[in-house]
Symmetry: C2
Subunit: 187 residues, 2 copies
């Protein structure tokens, strides 16, 4: 099985008007995605933020839940946070995985963008040998076009099967994507 | 397809020591599960809390995102919150669905409890005609035994496929369960 990691990007992402912005870190994103990443066997969970003060905030959250009293109180959260890597860019995340030549970027989006890689196709690719895969999620209204354009693959969107509403939170979308890629298939 | 709704229970649930407690409402639970419920075609999203002040908090969150400025700014959240019903007990939620004789309770848990209903079996049951189904999630460390014992079915746990760690957040677990029950099946 190929090595797989998750990244949560805060810049460049889109706002509700389609402008490219930087979003702020959400505390529960740090915890939820770490727990999801740990459950599905990710090697790393990168929180990507260009602003030093925001990276420091994430580091403080990590310290509180690993070294501090809360880590003793709820060891499950501490265990998940051992996957957390706080970096200033996607390039830095890729550097951890061996660099651009050693890892593929698969992006996610709520809508169809270019030729998608189906989850079935993605599962097949992950089973074999090959470069590490970094699955990238965006905050705000999603990853900016520059990130999508630089990707090796665009995972198909999680389409609603009952109606048109398709606005899952990134916490939910990451959990569903991980389960579709790595979860037990129904009999 | 049978009518299906989701409930998030704050009492009776377990704490980290296995005691039966009441947990506090988490703001992102109100939003994330509403968005997940809307995406997967749920008829209702019940937030169940025995404490009036906590129910009022949830109502204030709802009002802010439906009638207030934030509702205009982010209509997708407002649309999801139209499913939200704030009730004081699971019985009250069932009452909305026609009462105990008209609806089944399916509970969820992180561990194996009794004979589980597989997700495949659950999908099959939902396709036919029949009573409404209320899928119940617990906060804290999960639903108390009294809720499990009163259930018509216990959904199989979401098992990790790579390792032993199995501590998804309730936001993630709900999203995954909904996708396994109602999401498009991979080709």
């Amino acid at each position: 099985m190929r090595r797989c990691a998750v990244a949560l990007v805060h810049y460049p992402v889109l706002d509700g008007q389609g402008a490219v912005v930087t979003s702020a870190v959400t505390n529960l994103d740090v915890h939820d995605l770490a727990r999801t990443a740990r459950t599905y066997g990710m090697s790393d969970y990168f929180v990507v933020h260009p602003i030093a003060a925001q990276r420091e905030l994430v580091e403080r959250i990590r310290q509180h839940w690993t070294d501090g009293s809360s880590g003793r109180r709820i060891p499950d959260r501490r265990e998940a946070l051992t996957l957390l890597r706080v970096v200033d860019s996607l390039d830095a995340a890729l550097g951890s995985l061996g660099g651009r030549g050693e890892a593929e970027i698969w992006v996610t989006a709520a809508r169809e963008l270019g030729t998608p890689l189906s989850f079935a196709g993605a599962r097949a690719r992950l089973k074999g040998d090959g470069k590490a895969v970094l699955v990238v999620f965006g905050t705000g209204w999603g990853l900016a076009p520059s990130v999508i354009d630089a990707a090796d693959a665009i995972l198909e969107p999680i389409r609603p099967t009952r109606g048109e509403y398709n606005h899952l939170s990134v916490r939910s979308a990451c959990a569903i994507a991980m389960d579709r890629l790595f979860g037990a298939r129904p009999a």
